[in-house]
């Protein structure tokens, strides 16, 4: 029985699915043969469907990595597009197995909503985008501006704090959907569009003339974005955490999707441990020992995924910045596989 049943008759029981809200998410996932992954409703670079309905993006690749770890098959994922409002309910109720939807890790979300953040797959911060012809160079000059943003997000709160702290009057126009924010900003309803900086780069692509707009240098908040799972299933939580850690560790060790087969025979013991040639780290979390090998083989290491989806060569053109490895001066630091 799949989750997609839709009774056109009133026999609603057909559509009810007893699924994985309880402890053993891994068993349920294995039984149904795929991971149900909650994603955004369309954010280029992070999770975005193309005209054929194929999902791509950084967050999507995380889901694919998890599927590789569990099944050895990156395509064993089904995607549920979720609005900001629905995302936590969908996870809590067991409709999805993992939420990978540019979600900010905050204390209240981590502690009060029955959720666990598995790590950070993108260090973001809230930024401002303005029209170049306004002649503004700093967010501190935005006094009196009208600001477009999404409702019900941390962004809405941050912008209120920021303008209040700097004693600047402003006018907030908060929309339900990101597309509406873009449309209103594009129409000139607002001077400023604020959301996570990554989102600004992504949404700028949707504007009529992307070149007329610029992102201001100020970052007014910490927005660590990461995948989320339900509380109360430590095994699944571990898989979620270590999927991300494996991708980061792989980049650090120089293991890529191209050289992973050769690296399997590497002399480096930490590479061997990661790729399952030594030790039984996969079995410890309920997977096969080549779990990390499949992730890297099928999806790639963190650097590859970043470059393919949001990196400098993509339309988004985001540089690694703080999302570089710790060894390159960034924040990415994964605990070792040992």
């Amino acid at each position: 029985m799949t989750k997609t049943l839709l009774p056109l008759v009133l026999g609603t029981a057909m559509g009810v699915v007893a699924s994985a809200a309880n402890a053993a998410t891994l068993d349920d996932v294995k039984a149904k043969g795929f991971i149900q992954c909650g994603v955004s409703q369309g954010l280029p670079g992070f999770s975005n469907p193309d005209a054929q309905g194929n999902w791509t993006g950084l967050d999507v690749d995380y889901c694919r990595a998890m599927a590789s770890a569990v099944f050895g098959d990156a395509s064993a994922v089904k995607y549920t597009p979720l609005s900001a409002k629905e995302r936590f309910t969908a996870l809590q109720s067991g409709e999805i197995d993992v939420l990978s939807r540019n979600t900010t890790w905050t204390m209240s979300r981590d502690t009060q909503l029955g959720l666990n953040f598995a790590g950070v797959n993108y260090y973001d911060g809230q930024g401002f985008m303005v029209r170049k012809d306004l002649g503004v160079t700093s967010a501190l000059e935005l006094s009196g501006a009208s600001v477009c943003t999404n409702t019900g997000t941390t962004t809405e709160l941050n912008v209120a704090d920021y303008f209040r702290a700097n004693n600047m009057p402003y006018e907030i126009v908060a929309f339900e959907k990101a597309d509406e924010v873009v449309a209103a900003y594009d129409a000139g309803r607002c001077d400023v569009y604020t959301t996570d900086a990554s989102g600004l780069y992504a949404q700028r692509l949707k504007l009529t003339n992307p070149g007329d707009h610029m992102v201001l240098p100020e970052i007014i908040s910490k927005e660590p974005l990461g995948p989320v799972v339900r509380q109360g299933d430590d095994q699944w939580f571990n898989i979620a955490k270590w999927t991300l850690n494996a991708m980061i560790n792989a980049e650090e060790m120089g293991v890529t999707s191209e050289n992973v087969d050769n690296m399997k025979t590497s002399d480096n013991p930490s590479v061997k441990r990661l790729l399952g040639a030594e030790g039984a780290f996969g079995e410890a979390i309920g997977l096969s020992n080549d779990w990390a090998y499949s992730i890297i083989k099928n999806v790639g290491n963190y650097g590859e995924v970043f470059d393919a989806n949001v990196g400098p060569d993509t339309p988004l053109g985001i540089s690694r910045g703080v999302n570089a490895l710790w060894s390159n001066g960034g924040f990415l630091y994964a605990p070792p596989v040992r």
């Binding site: 799949t2 989750k3 997609t4 049943l5 839709l6 009774p7 056109l8 008759v9 009133l10 609603t12 559509g15 009810v16 699915v17 007893a18 699924s19 994985a20 809200a21 309880n22 409703q41 369309g42 469907p49 005209a51 054929q52 309905g53 089904k78 995607y79 549920t80 597009p81 979720l82 609005s83 409002k85 629905e86 309910t89 969908a90 809590q92 109720s93 067991g94 409709e95 339900e176 959907k177 597309d179 873009v182 449309a183 692509l205 949707k206 504007l207 009529t208």
Partner: protein, 383 residues
């Protein structure tokens, strides 16, 4: 009276009166309907001006300046000095998505069969003169939903994939609009009849429950119902049980429209003369046979226009599901606005215009049908 005896003989012809103002032909018609008085003439001129100032830019936009072919936004960008017209090329490129959503291309034939069956069963059902009404209704209301259900979602028997499963998340466009509207109305009909009977029941608790149910759903906006079904319904279910998102929306829509349906059906029940009830009881029929054999067939026939009107309302209201993140026709059109390939100043206008035309054609057609049935039923009951 006094001068009766004075003979009056006309000696010459009376002066000829001018011919009466023509009341036939184009001129006569115009004189009667457009220029019968000064006030009327002023109104006519104002009216023509309003009509012109609305229609002319519309035709300019939708037809004259429109771009019919093209591969991407370049074709639809306003050329120097010209106004941007409708970008029909964009609608053409996105047309499959507007109709099927993101339904996999190789499976689209299944949707087509459903559309075809739907039309093939609905048209004879809607024609009063077509035969086999009972069989037809049974096919449409019971058999068709089951076939459509398996065709759309897929069919897997014992591990053998007969029809590959297509998730509802991939559905979209007109398909979702029709699924929600048709399911909503078909499922709400029995519920609505039950509620209408309950509201007219003599049993106090049943009556009270029906009244509260009906007034509750009629009192709240659909959008809060949709929010409730998407955010709150999962909390009501036992741990680990989830509903498909589309199914949740369908439950909300069905409960909502059942309340409206109940009021429509109640109107029909009230219109049945008391003699019919008494006659049925005199024949010794119990409650359900009386309802099933005597009252409901007459009452439901009477309320067909009302049901069609409820359906029109529901059909239009399906657009609200885009607020809870589903892609109905309007939602699908809106989501296509973010495609940089077709991003032009006229894209939004074109998309909304296309949606408006589709909805107008459906709703206007149905309202004509409702009026037609109303006239037909009306004469049928005239004595």
């Amino acid at each position: 009276m006094a001068n009766l005896d004075i003979a009056q003989v006309r000696t010459e012809e009376a002066p000829k009166l001018p011919a009466p103002v023509s009341t036939t032909g184009v001129i006569g018609w115009m004189r009667q309907n457009l220029f019968s008085s000064i006030g009327n003439t002023v109104l006519t001129v104002i009216g023509i001006y309003i009509a012109y100032s609305l229609i002319a830019p519309f035709i300019q936009f939708a037809l004259i300046d429109a771009v019919w072919t093209g591969e991407n936004r370049e074709a639809c960008l306003p050329k120097d000095g010209q106004h941007a017209g409708a970008c029909w090329a964009y609608v053409k490129a996105y047309f499959p998505q507007f109709i099927y959503g993101r339904y996999p291309t190789e499976e689209v034939w299944r949707v087509n069969i459903v559309y075809f069956l739907f039309a093939a069963l609905l048209i004879p059902l809607a024609m009063p003169s077509a035969p086999f009404k009972r069989t037809n209704a049974l096919l449409f209301l019971v058999v068709f939903p089951i076939i459509a259900y398996f065709l759309l979602t897929g069919l897997v028997i014992g591990g053998n994939v007969i029809l590959p499963v297509v998730e509802t998340a991939q559905w979209g466009g007109l398909l979702v609009t029709l699924v929600i509207a048709v399911t909503g109305i078909v499922a709400s009909l029995p519920l609505g009849i039950a509620l209408a009977l309950g509201r007219r029941s003599k049993m106090p608790i049943i009556k009270l429950v029906s009244v509260i149910f009906i007034e509750f759903w009629r009192g709240v906006p659909l959008i809060t119902v949709l929010f409730m079904s998407s955010v709150m319904l999962p909390l009501f279910l036992p741990e680990g049980v989830t509903f498909d998102k589309l199914l949740r929306v369908l439950i909300g829509v069905t409960l909502f429209s059942a309340a409206y349906m109940a009021e429509v059906v109640r109107g029909g029940l009230q219109a049945i003369p008391k003699g019919q009830y008494e006659g049925a009881m005199a024949l010794g029929l119990r409650f359900w046979p009386m309802m099933y054999l005597i009252i409901l067939p007459q009452a439901l026939k009477l309320v067909i226009p009302g049901i069609v009107n409820t359906f029109i309302g529901l059909f239009k209201d399906t657009t609200l599901v885009l607020i809870v993140g589903m892609f109905d026709l309007l939602g699908q059109i809106q989501s296509s606005f973010t495609d940089p390939t077709w991003s032009t100043p006229s894209q939004g206008h074109t998309g909304y215009l296309f949606a408006a035309i589709v909805f107008f054609v459906f709703c206007f057609g149905m309202s004509r049908y409702s009026i037609f049935m109303e006239h037909k039923l009306h004469t049928g009951h005239k004595r």
